[in-house]
Symmetry: C2
Subunit: 202 residues, 2 copies
């Protein structure tokens, strides 16, 4: 047991950095941002605290970096899902389904991603905003392709409404896991949005 993986071993910067991100992601998800101490993350990495600071600068920096991966993955997953669709309503449906599936399979980390950063100090709370901007651009683009004649401000507004609705519904599902399946959630969201958009569709 003790020899299988030498408890402490020198690693290259890249290797150690990746390990730290893995550990940080898990611990933040488990305990939340505030309750997680840098000492614990360091311990679980089999390394001392100054190493974390060497690599990530601060607790916020580490959090930021660890969440960035989830953010990229979410973007990737939803984008790819929508790319496979044909008609507009199918785009919506696939995007929603991918989103709720992502949340379901990352449910621990997701709550962290969505709710914790809001209380992190201003500079790193922006990360979540960044994530939303990215998703926002994605969605606004999709909406524009549905309804090319709708005013931009309207599309922006609808984008925000959709993002907020998705997040809230997803958070609600984490608190009521048995109330609604992934497909039902995606279905409700799709239906609601589709109806909402209907006056602007060609």
């Amino acid at each position: 047991m003790s020899t299988a993986t030498p408890r402490r071993r020198r690693m290259s910067r890249a290797e150690r950095e990746r390990q730290m991100l893995d550990v940080a992601e898990a611990v933040f998800a488990e305990q939340g941002y505030r309750s997680t101490s840098m000492d614990e993350i360091a311990d679980r990495c089999g390394v001392s605290k100054p190493m974390l600071y060497e690599y990530f600068g601060s607790k916020d920096g580490l959090f930021h970096a660890s969440m960035a991966r989830s953010k990229a993955e979410l973007y990737d997953v939803t984008q790819k899902a929508m790319a496979g669709a044909t008609d507009p309503r199918d785009i919506l449906w696939r995007g929603m389904l991918a989103y709720f599936e992502f949340v379901d399979s990352h449910s621990d980390g997701f709550v962290t991603l969505l709710s914790e950063p809001l209380n992190v100090p201003a500079d790193s709370g922006d990360l979540v905003e960044e994530t939303r901007q990215q998703q926002s651009a994605l969605i606004t683009g999709v909406l524009k392709s549905f309804a090319p004649d709708a005013p931009d401000a309207t599309l922006q507004a609808f984008t925000e409404i959709i993002i907020g609705g998705c997040e809230r519904l997803a958070l609600w599902r984490t608190r009521h896991p048995d109330a609604m399946s992934v497909e039902e959630a995606a279905g409700h969201m799709t239906e609601f949005c589709w109806q909402g958009l209907s006056p602007y569709l060609p």
Copy 2:
């Protein structure tokens, strides 16, 4: 200037408590939860830190108490607005308008109100949940009166979508103050929701 309000004066419990809540609300809104120290709030109250703990138990306790007033006001304002309406769509419109007007007139504290409570540590998170249930129940009730035949789970889902959509759109407006008036925001929200609900209306 120095004699107008004696810098330090004994106050009754109720009076001091109210003053502490006023100060806390302002400071949290100004600096955010994490950057605010109990020492600073105590200073601005002209009182020492243990008094805060005597009255509110913890930093989280103080925060919750200070936010509770805003939430109560929000609830009150939206409920009263809707009570004056006649037909269903007017209920929606008035509720939305009241909501966005409230946000507009409390914009500095609003970001705090919306985003901070989500991050409190597990032990006291229930307080937030409680308040949210209240708003949720209000909306779900309204929806049920619109669409008595829709399944409860669907109404719950729509409630979450609506709350999330409102919050996001309101936050977006605080970052883009000139992009959209209160009436336009309320209008978009009303239209989107009304359309979304349409399949369930009698």
